[in-house]
């Protein structure tokens, strides 16, 4: 009777040690903030052309 009681107690204690196995690992450099509207604008070829024109206008050698 006493052995059964201790056996059940041990099982109960061990059951309490159980934890979820699917751990959420931290994924570095995965942006968690709000979306920048500039990203959509950058995709347009017109914007790219505008920046290139600006560069050629002001930063190329004299």
């Amino acid at each position: 009777m006493r052995k059964t009681f201790f056996g059940a107690l041990c099982l109960l204690i061990l059951a309490g040690c159980y934890g979820p196995v699917d751990i959420a690992y931290h994924e570095p450099a995965r942006y968690m903030g709000s979306m920048d509207p500039l990203l959509a604008k950058e995709r347009s070829p017109e914007q790219q052309e505008l920046l290139l024109q600006r560069f050629n206008k002001g930063q190329t050698d004299r």
């Binding site: 942006y31 903030g33 709000s34 920048d36 290139l52």
Partner: protein, 196 residues
Amino acid sequence: MARMKFLCDTERCIECNGCVTACNNENNVPWGINRRHVVTLGDGRRGEKSVSVACMHCTDAPCAAVCPVDCFYTTEDGIVLHDKDLCIGCGYCFYACPFGAPQYPQQEAFGVRGKMDKCTFCAGGPLPDNSKEEFLKYGRNRIAEGKLPLCAEMCATKALLAGDGTVVSEIYRKRVMKRGGRPDALGWQTAYPAEK
């Protein structure tokens, strides 16, 4: 798609700090912060070299890799930006950055620092383009206006170039071919006559 990069031609930089002033003025940078620095090696000696340094918008940015709150993102043009609403001012990015780009404004007494501030390639942050909120938090968004960073556009000797990496490297290649290893700065031979 362009890959935006800075390049500072050390043969042309005359340490005028015009880029630093232009940046501070354009972006209303908080007192005590310089998003851009001019570093001089061998100051006052013959052959001294100056280089203008800010965030280099790394392809595999170490600041983004170490950030515990993941507040960094890279635009399709390769510009590394961050969200100040997420930043906790921990300073990890400062230790990770090889260029000392992240800066922290003093917020309170006893050195309590605020959220990280760094060069945005004049591209603002994750707020509506050219809004008042964006200007106050991140500075001016010149990229959205079709302009390039003011530091490079203001550079008198065109030492600092900012734009598509392919175009920038082509200009630098032509300069190196033209000068053939000789110093390019005007009056260099007068200021530093050749040793006999």
